[in-house]
Symmetry: C2
Subunit: 327 residues, 2 copies
């Protein structure tokens, strides 16, 4: 089968591509493994590091243009991971860009599939940001969406679209709501949640990190390793097991910022954990504070999706994956 | 102030226009009454019966075209009632048309307001069809949306868009979720709920009506009179009272089809109530069966929105409004 990853040059896209290439196959719609004949990585910049992979086709293009999607999706494209997105902080700062990439492009992708008529499997990623307002202590599968950011609204709209396209049989769709991914390697980005990686990554690199929210702020986190595992497992779930509700809350870890720092201290020592400065940022606090700190994961567990066991373990896997020497 | 009604030639649009002309004024954003200087009625066909009303401007156009909206909205347009829609049955039968009118046009209307920058008051109507799947006996304000029709999905998306445009201060938005309107005068339409008027209207006109759902099917109804009163009251609610949640479930009556027919018998006699044939229609049963039969109306009541007291009273007001002689 042909597989497409949008946002294929991004952090999760690259990791997912590597993992798919290692596996070499995905379960097909009939539940039998099928080998991946071609893996298309689409992004606004060229995905690098796949030059020697005969199965990989790197494509550069604007995902909000119909022509781009028609170039990367054909009737042989049986699985699509749609990861391309403008992050929360950027979607709040630039309303039009967020609408174009997070909403219009998602719809165009679904429309391209509908027009082709081959009912591909389409995996959308969504976010904690679809929730907001007064929330129960533990968010349930049937808790109402109430986004308090344009990013959250755009993700919620994409969820509704995918559910209806799936109901009508235009695609075999599934939406995986990702907890905040931590620890992300690399540089800070414009996501309001960027600090959730920064306060671990920077201190481990010997750099001081700024924490823009209170230590009591509760986050809902998933490591990159488990995120990739959940994306693949979520893609392979039998459509019948999902029924009419194509949205699944992925299993996260509920931790406060204070608990994250305690785990950093446990894994890397006091000197590392001391490299955090507190500097409240009302804009970030408002966005992050509207997200739920915990949700009910029984459906995810039933569907075989597995999260992290502890945040200390998350930090250790980050150190291992990124080959960081902790001194 | 200038007022725009989209769907202005439709049943609710015409009724709303008449009521606004009778009142002559609406509360402005500061809570003080302002007289209506111009009432624009936009629809795909010309609204008729307003030829002698100097304040009325009848406009014909495609609401999904930007130029149409730019023609009917300017910086003096302080209040917009957006009623134009493709009904549920039609949106299910013609996916593209439903997306164009129920989703794209609603967004274009919000975009036109954002571009003008004068933050008008915008009233969207939404529907029971945003709910579906396994529902609690009484739907609460925070019950998750789970539309099981494309119409419901499109309305849910429009709700999310309006909430975010309001949050960002692009419009002073409010969404009023309408129960099924009954009794509508005139002819059956392509709405899945068309029978909810037909089984009362046709027998009163001496014509046999076909009921496509079981007598035990529970509906959530609002009379045209109270719908118009709620639209105006909903428009006049102080923005601060709505807060971040701009969607309000209007107060309906929870009645079964059997109870509706019993009320018809009570008001118009056995001979009239006998003019109903039962002929199950799986397509209609599926759509209507996914809607909630009752929802919690405490917020609507708090906000001063009032529904009907009994279905017999609804039938009597229909007979009065439409000048029907019951023999």
């Amino acid at each position: 089968m042909k597989v497409l990853i949008t946002g294929g040059a991004g952090f999760l896209g690259q990791r997912l591509a590597r993992e798919l290439l290692n596996r070499g196959q995905l379960k097909g719609p009939n539940g039998q493994p099928e080998s991946i004949s071609e893996l298309v990585l689409l992004d606004v910049v060229a995905a690098t590091g796949f030059e020697h992979e005969a199965r990989v086709r790197v494509e550069v293009g604007d995902i909000a243009e119909r022509a781009t999607l028609e170039r990367v999706i054909d009737t042989q494209t049986h699985t699509i991971f749609h990861l391309a997105a403008v992050v929360s902080g950027q979607a709040e700062a630039d309303f039009e860009l967020g609408m174009r990439i997070n909403l219009d492009a998602s719809r165009l992708l679904l429309e391209t599939c509908r027009t082709l008529g081959h009912q591909p499997r389409v995996v959308f990623t969504s976010s904690v940001a679809v929730y907001g307002g007064t929330l129960p202590a533990v968010v349930q599968d049937d808790t109402a969406l109430n986004p308090q950011s344009s990013y959250g609204m755009q993700k919620a709209v994409a969820e509704l679209l995918l559910n209806d396209y799936a109901r009508r049989g235009f695609v075999d769709g599934r939406v995986l709501r990702l907890p905040t991914i931590s620890v992300r390697p690399g540089k800070p980005n414009a996501a309001a949640s960027s600090f959730a990686s920064g306060i671990i990554r920077e201190p481990l690199n010997g750099v001081t990190a700024v924490c823009p929210v209170a230590g009591s702020t509760r986050l809902w986190l998933l490591s990159p390793r488990k995120a990739i595992a959940c994306l693949i497992a979520g893609c392979e779930i039998d459509a019948a097991a999902l029924g009419i509700q194509r949205v699944v809350n992925l299993p996260g870890l509920s931790v406060s910022v204070d608990e994250m720092i305690a785990a950093l201290r446990e894994v890397a020592g006091e000197a590392v954990a001391a490299r955090i400065e507190w500097q409240a940022d009302a804009r970030v606090e408002k966005i992050v504070g509207s997200w739920p700190g915990q949700w009910d994961t029984s459906r995810a567990q039933q569907l075989g999706l597995v999260g992290d066991r502890s945040f200390a373990e998350v930090i250790r896997s980050y150190i291992e994956d990124e080959r960081i020497s902790v001194s």
